[in-house]
């Protein structure tokens, strides 16, 4: 037994010496690093055998690190990673949750283009994104610039612009549906009393062609405070010297924005646009609460992808089909995010 140990130690020593020499003579830095790393693993083995340590110091270090991660990672793996894998598989099956799963290949996806409800939901989701993303970005940036100036009551204004984000959707959408109520609401009353709009042509904000506009405006109102805070953080990272230099060169306010603020905020804008896009694609509750009837169902004019996923999964129990729609949602988000990444890379170069 001891002989064997001595032999092993000798072997390891020789191997380590060889690797050391090789790494000394190696000129390519990457290869050199590889050799050194190899030697280090051998050394760990060597130490473990030589001093009869069951667990090497390295392993101990790893274990400590894992113990930090474990509480979160276990929950994350079980409740997020596994369902994600499952979602990809489910999209290629037909399943009602009780009977055995049937694999049907791509037939779920093949059905999608002919499904008028799906097409309407997809169209509405895209319209909603196209309307909401740029508008929210512009408004929140403008707001952040205004609230980054020295104005009286700045803290107050910052706080109130965050109110809508904090407020619960159910409560605040009810208020909106009261204020913009087609017949009784004060907004339409103002249109009629002050601007003389005929009672019959008063707009109905929650159905037909106007409903998407209402959804977009509501989202901008609700979420601009959130993105404003992100922009504020970005603005505060811009060095004041840049503006001083700009002033000395006689730059106008617009020029300062165009040539200092905007380029300096590029990575912030990138982050804001990515987050906004992801959040827009998963719109659901806003649509349900503003445009859903008393039964909470959405008509085709306001249906969105997540609503269609929910309906297929939990009303019709077509789990495979629901997952196929979910995959479309995922691919959309992925593609848009990748395009934005590529664009950001190009600007950087």
């Amino acid at each position: 037994m001891n002989d064997e140990k001595a032999k092993k130690i000798e072997q390891l020593e020789a191997e380590m010496a060889r690797l050391w020499e090789e790494s000394q003579n190696e000129t390519d830095i990457k290869k050199k690093q590889k050799l050194i790393a190899k030697r280090n693993t051998l050394q760990r083995k060597y130490v473990a055998i030589r001093y009869n340590r069951k667990i090497s110091r390295e392993t101990k270090k790893d274990l400590v690190a894992y113990s930090f991660i474990a509480p979160n990672f276990i929950g994350f793996a079980v409740f997020t990673l596994i369902p994600i894998v499952f979602a990809f598989i489910l999209a290629f099956t037909e399943w009602d949750g009780n009977n055995p799963i049937q694999f049907v290949g791509v037939s779920n996806f093949a059905q999608l283009p002919g499904d008028t409800f799906f097409v309407a939901a997809l169209k509405n989701t895209i319209i909603y994104c196209i309307g909401t993303v740029p508008l929210t970005m512009i408004v929140s940036l403008a707001l952040a610039i205004v609230l980054n100036q020295k104005v009286k009551g700045r803290g107050f204004f910052r706080t109130i612009s965050f109110f809508p984000y904090v407020a619960s959707l159910v409560a605040i959408t009810t208020v909106w549906s009261m204020i913009f109520h087609p017949t009784k609401g004060p907004f339409n009353y103002l249109l009629m009393a002050v601007f003389g709009v005929d009672q019959k042509s008063l707009p109905n904000w929650f159905s037909g062609s106007l409903v998407m506009l209402t959804l977009i405006l509501f989202s901008v109102w609700k979420y601009m405070g959130y993105y404003m805070v992100i922009y504020l953080a970005g603005l505060q990272g811009i060095s004041a010297e840049l503006y001083e230099a700009g002033s000395l060169d006689g730059a106008t306010t617009w020029q300062k924005f165009r040539y200092i603020t905007w380029p300096q905020l590029r990575s912030t804008t990138f982050f804001v646009v990515v987050m906004l896009t992801i959040n827009c694609f998963k719109v659901y509750d806003i649509a349900i609460m503003l445009a859903g009837g008393s039964d909470g169902n959405l008509s085709n004019s306001a249906s969105v992808l997540v609503y269609y996923i929910y309906q297929n999964a939990f009303d019709y129990w077509k789990l495979g089909y629901a997952s196929a729609v979910a995959m479309v949602l995922f691919v959309l988000v992925l593609v848009v995010t990748l395009i934005q990444f590529a664009y950001e890379k190009k600007l950087e170069a």
Partner: protein, 289 residues
């Protein structure tokens, strides 16, 4: 003499420019205030009105002659509002606590320790941030149902408490804390757990406050998660309960508004308490990109 007049003229034009700028600035702020506050003022006002008075425009009064305070009493008996509040408070506190604890714990490891498969594990977190929950909510529900978590508050806790976003955010913050601080503590013989609890945690107030606001708001106001999982009346949250109430008594606006006001108070309180760390927190967690 003439140079002085030019100077005076220039000063006058600068003054006028500044005045115009100030004017527009305050105009924007005025519009902002109106747009932000009117819905909330409407909510407060409607919550003490009778259903007949809510939409009365001629004349519109902010506070009715006889405020209907009974709305705030009736809401507790008309629907099991107390149960809803209890469930929501329970869920929000547990989820927020778990989220803060587990993500700051994991984030410390990702930011300050070296270990095998670190990059791979972190990639798993990053990749799921861009993955909307709605994409995998269906298989997640099937799985939870198999685990016997359907119609259990525990399901919502499992769903919300281990987000990738929290880990990512906290790691960004810890990345900004100099490594020398940890090294010095290690030389002094502190264990990693002690470094985390004695040095890192006290430093991370802004990041923790920001994460608290995000998690608290998200859990308190979540609608789709509870809608999928919580079926029985005694498990429902405030959001579900309010929505149900609106479905049943759609014309009882005063009561609905009273419930809405009550549902806002805790979130607003948490936000106002923590907001002084907020911008700093967003800035230092790299959320600005």
């Amino acid at each position: 003499m003439s140079s002085q007049t030019i100077k005076q003229k220039k000063e006058a034009s600068i003054k006028r420019n500044n005045f115009i700028k100030k004017f527009f600035l305050y105009l924007i702020l005025l519009i902002l205030t109106v747009a932000m506050l009117v819905p909330f003022i409407w909510m407060l006002s409607a919550s003490i009105k009778s259903d007949r008075e809510v939409f009365q425009m001629t004349p519109f009064v902010l506070i009715p002659e006889v405020p209907k305070w009974s709305n705030y009493v009736d809401i507790w008996t008309k629907i099991p509002f107390g149960t809803f509040v209890k469930n929501t408070v329970f869920l929000t506190i547990i989820v927020t606590a778990l989220q803060l604890l587990t993500s700051s714990f994991a984030a410390y490891s990702f930011a300050k320790l070296e270990f095998k498969h670190k990059n791979l594990l972190f990639m798993a977190y990053i990749a799921t941030i861009a993955m909307p929950w709605q994409v995998y909510m269906v298989p997640q529900f099937i799985m939870m149902r198999k685990m016997g978590l359907n119609d259990k508050l525990l399901a919502i806790i499992c769903l919300q408490a281990f987000s990738a976003f929290g880990v990512f955010m906290m790691r960004q913050f810890y990345d900004g804390i100099p490594n020398e601080l940890c090294e010095a503590a290690r030389v002094d013989g502190m264990s990693e757990y002690m470094i985390y609890s004695r040095i890192m945690l006290p430093l991370s107030k802004p990041a923790l406050s920001t994460l608290t606001i995000f998690t608290f708001v998200a859990t308190w106001n979540d609608y789709l998660g509870p809608l999928i999982y919580l079926k029985s009346q005694e498990k429902k949250t405030i959001q579900l309960g309010l929505k149900m109430f609106i479905g049943q008594y759609s014309s009882q606006y005063g009561l609905i508004m009273a419930g809405s006001v009550l549902s806002l108070i805790p979130v607003l309180a948490v936000f106002i308490c923590l907001q002084r760390y907020f911008v700093e927190g967003v800035a230092s967690t790299g959320l600005k990109g």
